[in-house]
Symmetry: C2
Subunit: 134 residues, 2 copies
């Protein structure tokens, strides 16, 4: 069984990436690995950790409803999100990585942030970049 | 029937993009539109035009062998490749655009060129970025 790895953040672009990853996994008969990455540090306290846990419960519900096999990974190990995403993709010999492109508030213009660029350039497998609906 | 649009150049990254686009079209039961874009001008003379035609014959053979429906578009209308690719994707209400990421010679490091960045940011549909094998 192949693996689709998706970078998840609780924002419109993260939801768009998750939705598309579910579609791609169904199409390919693959499993999904959801990667939610935090650098950690002083800002990531027990409140933030609990909020994240609630968010990931919602992600699990969506994956259950979609009927796909999945693994949700919450990583707090001091790495940049791109580093974690590529690491998990390598571990799983991923066939595809799905990322969401974020919009720069408040103008709403899409940008290629440093994490997106790094995943696009450094991942061994193809990378599917999706956008949240306007 | 959905449409997968692929940007083709006769280079390793173009071949990788075409191969992946064929796989994606088969998986989705979609047709392929291959876009080969030249700005034109003094460098695009009858010799260049003939070379391109021979290259596109090879592309058609690969598509025939794959058994997918296709349309090969050679565009010489003074536009940047990104502009042509996005235009054709819009015309066809594409479900996916496939692009190849190029390597900077001679060091071989991958780069996100201005055309790749523009397609990633400006295309309405998801964009799949692939790399040629090392």
């Amino acid at each position: 069984m192949g693996t689709v790895v998706v970078g998840y953040v609780p924002k419109p672009e993260g939801d768009a990436a998750l939705d598309r990853a579910i579609d791609e996994a169904k199409l390919r008969g693959s499993k999904i690995v959801v990667v939610n990455s935090h650098r950690g540090g002083a800002d990531f306290d027990s409140v933030a950790s609990h909020q994240t846990e609630a968010t990931l419960d919602d992600v699990r519900s969506r994956l259950d409803a979609a009927g796909v096999s999945y693994d949700v990974r919450q990583l707090v190990r001091g790495f940049e999100p791109a580093e974690d995403l590529i690491g998990i993709a390598d571990e799983n010999d991923a066939e595809l990585i799905v990322i969401g492109l974020r919009r720069r508030s408040p103008v709403g213009k899409l940008i290629l942030g440093s994490n997106a660029q790094r995943v696009l350039l450094d991942a061994k497998c193809p990378v599917l970049a999706v956008k949240a609906a306007d």
